[in-house]
């Protein structure tokens, strides 16, 4: 068993970059709105910036529905974006289908959350991998080349000996093995960036570690840029170099993983970390730093709260939070640590009492 060492890697070359990435899903119009001009939309992702660098893992954490998967799908160009830009090696790209899409695919590959669903039950492991190799032209010329390439792929994800797995159907594999096949399929394209959308959340606790270690190992050997999406902030701490926190479609905090998890700046990150089960906290109602005022309910993404989207639940909310969208503010404890929260704007804190605009605990619930 290898333990995961601290994330301390030099900043590599930027592979993929998202700038002001935005995705709104249109909502089917209701009859009432037929005559109004307003178009409702789910604001799934708003103004997201992130950078994936060679040989680095960037974690994206956030609660369910905060838009993490949407970011991944936008980055893999499975969804067209509403606004913003995606830059591959600094070049703006927007592809939908055809050969341009395949070219893009060969650099950016995605791994899905559920290994039970992401492999077609009617095809063998061989079929899945062969397709990936063939589409991206890594299958070689002869059948032998192909066979070699397949073996190499399976070896790379530690499914050895490869012959034992090649002709199996997905249902004959365990969850961990399936996820390895899915990873191998992604690797078949020889990508530079890997978007892993909750790759372990459907797996058993004892198997998770193996997959994470594998990803980590691949990152190092193949110098991959990895986006690791999860809602398990603890695993981000162990696995990722950087961690970004998302709330209701927006980035609220970012920085290197250790800093973000150990000294969270944004009240939401704090809430998240406090809520994570902690075996060391043996008394249940230990003093809590942050209390959730929103009954644990995320806000509506169709009509997101004005200002900071977290303000209805935030115990530290100030009047300004309800009106103005917070900007990224440097925290200053570690380089690169930032939070989008007015608490770190000295002028605001000076003028307004933190928590002065916090709503009573049940307010959010009634408004549902």
């Amino acid at each position: 068993m290898t333990s995961i060492p601290d994330a301390e890697t030099p900043a590599g070359e930027v592979v993929l970059e998202a700038i002001g990435l935005t995705k709104h899903f249109p909502v089917r119009r209701k009859l009432r709105d037929l005559f109004s001009r307003k178009h409702d939309a789910v604001h799934a992702v708003d103004d997201v910036n992130l950078t994936l660098r060679r040989g680095q893992v960037t974690a994206l954490v956030g609660e369910s529905g905060s838009g993490k998967s949407t970011v991944a799908r936008l980055l893999s160009q499975l969804y067209p974006r509403t606004a913003g830009d995606i830059r591959l090696h600094g070049e703006s790209t927007r592809v939908k289908s055809g050969s341009a899409f395949r070219r893009y695919c060969s650099t950016v590959q995605m791994i899905f959350q559920d290994p039970f669903a992401s492999l077609n039950p009617v095809h063998t492991v061989r079929y899945h991998l062969t397709r990936s190799l063939k589409i991206h032209g890594h299958a070689g010329k002869t059948a032998e080349d192909l066979e070699n390439a397949l073996h190499a792929l399976l070896n790379r994800v530690h499914l050895t000996p490869p012959e034992r797995y090649l002709d199996k159907f997905p249902h004959e594999l365990s969850g961990g093995q399936r996820q390895r096949v899915a990873i191998a399929r992604a690797l078949g394209a020889e990508p530079e960036a890997l978007l892993a959308d909750e790759p372990v959340s459907m797996l058993d606790v004892s198997i998770r570690l193996g997959i994470l270690n594998l990803l980590r190992d691949l990152k190092e050997r193949l110098d991959l840029a990895i986006l690791y999406i999860t809602h398990d902030i603890a695993s981000a701490r162990y696995f990722a170099d950087q961690t970004l926190v998302m709330y209701a479609g927006r980035m609220v905090e970012g920085g290197d993983s250790e800093t973000v998890t150990q000294s969270p700046a944004h009240p939401y990150t704090r809430l998240l970390i406090d809520s994570a089960p902690d075996p060391d906290r043996l008394t249940v109602d230990a003093e809590q730093l942050t209390t959730d005022r929103g009954n644990g309910e995320p806000p509506s993404l169709i009509h997101p709260p004005s200002g900071c989207r977290f303000h209805p639940r935030c115990p530290m909310a100030m009047p300004r939070c309800t009106t103005d969208l917070p900007v990224r503010l440097e925290i200053g404890d570690r380089p690169g640590h930032w939070a989008a929260c007015w608490l770190y704007d000295e002028a605001t804190v000076a003028a307004q009492q933190p928590g002065s605009a916090a709503q009573p605990a049940t307010a959010a619930e009634v408004s549902k």
Partner: protein, 361 residues
């Protein structure tokens, strides 16, 4: 005319009632292909259907008489010479039945194939492509669903001059695809959102390939069940058309036999041998096809399988039915079943643990 059973009523598109291939345990592809045959219903259905197909092929050769040839014995009951008796013209009913099998099977299958192809093309395209295409294709299938099929078939066959089996089959095929198309569209819609389809796209597969290699194999059961349903419908339609004298087919089929029998008041003349066998032949063929359809349904949704034991004997000898909500208790003695050994007092320090490989990954 009956609405084909099974596939129609049970699957209500849009409501997702279609038994989804179990998400947790994806259809056990290869092994289950053979498992399908081990289903008693499927086996029985396929054997009967097989016999019919064989008869359809060799029927005209093994028929003892020319089905249209007049004979000396008029309206005779079954005898050693005429196993199923004769008609008012002295024709051999048994030969007519044998010769008629080909037409029935031919029309049934051709119509089934045409309708299935159409439904797959239209349903899957609508479901996969979505958007405007979907709207147009859905509207098309709905129109065909609303138009009453049998009268339409009657009209169209009457437009065709001398409509032979081909025409009848094609007309039935072209008018009866809509239901299956709807079912397939709904299924495709749900499949399209499956991760493995998205994953195939993310790998860089083309749409055509995704449809044919990722979607269609997973729709096989639905398609097959639609096919079987259409075959039943086509067979019943052909027979109905022949019975009411709409089709002008010059060849024999069971409907023709019934048409003649009814025209000649076979039953009123107590000539049951003329009227009953053809009807039974239809019913048995229909039953065989329904059995296959049930089997497909069960294949798709293992929950429907009632095979296996449903009754179970407790240790005290009582028989209880397995049912939801009340798990049978075979015995409630507090004795352990596997006798675990009490752990002997071992010299803890003396033992040498066999250390296993530490690196699994």
């Amino acid at each position: 005319m009956t609405i084909p059973t099974s596939s129609i009523e049970q699957v209500i598109p849009g409501q997702g009632s279609m038994a989804q291939p179990e998400a947790g345990k994806p259809a056990k592809a290869k092994r289950q292909r053979f498992l399908f045959l081990s289903n008693r219903k499927a086996a029985a259905g396929l054997i009967i259907l097989g016999i019919y197909i064989v008869l359809a092929i060799i029927g005209p050769w093994i028929a003892p008489f020319d089905p249209g040839a007049r004979g000396e014995d008029l309206m005779q009951g079954p005898s050693s010479e005429h196993w199923m008796g004769t008609t008012h013209l002295g024709q051999d009913v048994y030969s007519q039945l044998l010769v008629g099998t080909r037409s029935v099977i031919f029309v049934g299958f051709l119509a089934g194939i045409v309708a299935t192809l159409l439904s797959v093309i239209i349903g899957v395209t609508a479901g996969y492509v979505g958007g405007k295409t979907d709207e147009v294709l859905s509207a098309l299938s709905n129109v065909f669903l609303v138009i009453p099929a049998l009268p339409l078939i009657i009209i169209v066959t009457s437009i065709m001059e001398n409509a032979g089996e081909w025409v009848v089959a094609l007309v039935i095929g072209f008018t009866s695809w809509s239901w299956n198309a709807r079912v397939l569209r709904a299924q495709t819609l749900s499949l399209r959102r499956r991760d493995y389809v998205e994953a195939a796209r993310a790998t860089g597969e083309r749409s055509g390939r995704i449809i044919t290699f990722e979607l269609l194999p997973n729709l096989t059961a639905v398609i097959a069940s639609g096919f079987v349903g259409t075959v039943i419908f086509a067979v019943l339609s052909e027979i109905t058309l022949a019975f009411i004298g709409i089709t002008s087919s010059n060849t024999w089929n069971w409907g023709t036999i019934l048409f003649w029998a009814q025209g000649q008041q076979a039953l009123a003349r107590s000539a049951w041998w003329w009227f009953v066998p053809a009807g039974l032949a239809i019913a048995i063929l229909g039953t065989a096809l329904s059995l296959i359809n049930f089997a497909i349904d069960e294949f798709v949704s293992p929950r429907l399988r009632s095979a296996g034991k449903t009754k179970i004997k407790t240790n005290s000898g009582r028989t209880v039915r397995m049912r939801i909500g009340f798990t049978p208790v075979l015995s409630n003695s507090p004795e352990p079943i596997t006798h675990a050994s009490p752990i002997p007092v071992v010299d803890h320090n003396g033992a040498t643990p066999v250390v296993r490989k530490e690196h699994a990954s």
